[in-house]
């Protein structure tokens, strides 16, 4: 009797990645296929593992701050904010009002920059080449402001434990207002290009559906959760850095499919502009650093602090043994936990949809692997 070959089986195993343009980094997905239908997926991650949490235990609290920028490198400002807030919580200090407002402005600007990269690459994966060039043009303007403020564009290390290192440069307010005026019409432009496009809708509507209950079971947060109809945003639920002072909406949608997540993220960019405009109108005068000791030695204790990063809940669980070095820094990365839902979203769909589903999760492998 002849030995059975793969032709006798209806199931085909297909390896995707780790070097694949639409996995947004080095992600390997093993797909089990029946014809074109996905029967199951298995993610292989860790290619970018650098041991960030181990490094933290071998640096001082201050020295570790620049390392967090290198996790979600598209949203370095958010990472830095979360870490600073966590250490400030341990020290029981709060950044002065001026520093808080500047933090809000830069973090929201970074949210826009991060969403822009998502939009461009997601559209590119689906086959729409043009938006990528448009979003990179606008993102450039945001990165220019980071550069003028702190000298770096990507891994900004913009904040310090207790406040800011640099005060604002002279034309900061003008630059920010000019960016907002320039940017809002661009969001309409993206919508004009994509929202009613037949191919775009054909590839996105009812693809990768994740209901609200499934989101909660998988711990999925951020725009993915909101697209499933849950009006939950840490900036509103557990406000930090003075977000409660600003008037903004939490955009939600109902179906929890890939198209809804696109709509939610576009609206989030508009809301970010709204926050920035309110914040820049009212930057209080005063110090930019709270009274923190030069050598940071938080008392023995622990804290969990999280912020609404562009991808979802970014949490830091920090433990101090009273010395100058962290005893433990645990990062709760939104991308890592959101990626776990990939199997549920892709199963039963077509093999072509896996690209749309990975794109819509907006993952950054630097943050997943740490």
């Amino acid at each position: 009797m002849a030995e059975s070959t793969f032709l006798d089986s209806t199931e085909l195993v297909l390896n995707m990645g780790p070097q694949h343009p639409s996995t947004h980094g080095v992600l390997r997905v093993i797909l089990r296929l029946d014809g074109e239908k996905i029967m199951g997926t298995d993610c292989v991650i860790g290619y970018l593992h650098r041991g960030v949490e181990k490094i933290a235990e071998n640096r001082t609290w201050t020295q570790f701050a620049p390392y967090v920028d290198r996790m979600d490198y598209l949203a370095a400002v958010s990472n830095g904010l979360g870490y600073c807030l966590a250490v400030e919580k341990l020290l029981n200090v709060e950044a002065p009002p001026r520093a808080q407002v500047v933090r809000v402005i830069l973090t929201e600007l970074n949210r826009i920059a991060s969403h822009l990269v998502w939009l461009g690459t997601h559209a590119l994966d689906i086959g729409a080449l043009t938006p990528l060039f448009y979003v990179m043009r606008e993102r450039e303007a945001a990165l220019d402001i980071f550069e003028r403020y702190c000298g770096a564009r990507l891994t900004t290390h913009a904040f310090r434990i207790g406040g800011l290192q640099y005060d604002l440069y002279d034309r900061f307010e003008t630059d920010i207002k000019a960016f907002c005026d320039m940017f809002l019409p661009k969001v309409d432009e993206y919508e004009e290009l994509l929202s009613e496009n037949r191919i775009w809708k054909g590839r996105l509507v009812n693809v990768g559906v994740l209901t609200a209950d499934e989101c909660k079971e998988y711990g999925v947060t951020g725009p993915v959760l909101r697209a499933a109809g849950v009006e939950w945003d840490i900036r509103k639920a557990l406000p930090y850095s003075g977000y409660d002072k600003y008037d903004f909406k939490i955009p939600t949608a109902r179906n929890g499919d890939t198209y809804d997540r696109y709509i939610v993220r576009l609206e989030e960019m508009r809301q970010s502009v709204r926050i920035i405009r309110q914040a820049v109108e009212d930057i209080p005068e005063g110090p930019i650093m709270a009274k923190v000791p030069k050598v940071i030695k938080p008392p023995v204790g622990e804290a969990y602090v999280s912020i609404e990063a562009p991808k979802g809940e970014l949490g830091y669980y920090v433990v101090s043994d009273g010395s100058t070095q962290p005893y433990r820094v645990r990062v709760r990365p939104p991308s890592f936990i959101n990626l776990q839902a990939l199997d549920r979203m892709a199963r039963g769909g077509l093999v072509a949809d896996i690209v749309a589903v990975i794109g819509t999760l907006d993952i950054v492998l630097g943050e997943i692997d740490r």
Binding site: G219, K297, G301, A303, G315, R332, I337, Q340
Partner: protein, 210 residues
């Protein structure tokens, strides 16, 4: 960095420098004021009491060993075998339906060396709490996957980094490191320069990754 010194931290220093500036001061002078008491070496927690703790206390009794607050954040400590029951109870009867995170902390000098930490959130209550439990080396705590699906990868990461195996986990494999890797890097006795040299040699064809 801020220019100012923490008043508590600077108090003993300024006392020292004052005595150095006047070395010839007569010994009859009154002793300098005592430095403020040092920060305690244990976490300065306060008890946590509300209707939720009363509910849990009634349901679990001795299996929950304490309710604490630190910096306005609430957590409870429990016996390891009680944790899945507590998670299930909190999910079904107290709306804590979102398991935010599972992680561990290594305290090698302690008899039960690991702290397992569960972070929970309730959308309905807008409340976040933590559950902490102590695990000894080689002990196999029960998996939380039957209660919260998100525990799957989180527990795999704890296993990968600390070597804590979860009983009843559907897929107890490493997640970030290669499957054949020896050692668990986030243990305190794993040096930052340490690596699995044999794995590096066999798979990367180099003597060292450093």
């Amino acid at each position: 960095m801020g220019e100012e010194q923490n008043p508590e931290g600077s108090a003993p220093l300024s006392g020292d420098s004052a005595s150095q500036q006047k070395p010839a001061a007569p010994p009859a002078k009154p002793a300098p004021p005592k430095p403020p008491p040092k920060a305690p070496a244990v976490m300065a927690t306060t008890p946590w009491e509300d209707e939720l703790t009363a509910l849990l206390q009634e349901r679990f009794g001795d299996r929950i060993t304490g309710f604490y607050t630190y910096l306005g954040q609430e957590f409870l400590t429990a016996q390891p075998e009680a944790v899945p029951d507590i998670l299930e109870f909190l999910k079904l009867e107290a709306d804590f339906d979102y398991l935010v995170d599972i992680t561990a902390v290594d305290w090698p000098k302690r008899e039960r060396r690991f702290d397992l930490v569960y972070v929970l959130y309730s959308f309905a209550r807008n409340h976040r709490i933590r559950i902490k439990t102590e695990i000894a080396e080689g002990e196999r705590p029960a998996s939380a996957v039957p209660v919260h699906l998100t525990a799957n990868w989180l527990e795999r990461e704890v296993f990968d980094m600390f070597g804590i195996e979860f009983e009843g986990h559907p897929d107890m494999r490493r997640i970030l490191l290669p499957e054949e890797w020896q050692g668990h890097p986030l243990r305190k006795d794993y040096s930052i320069l340490q690596q699995d040299t044999q794995w590096v040699r066999e798979n990367l064809g180099i003597e060292s990754g450093q």
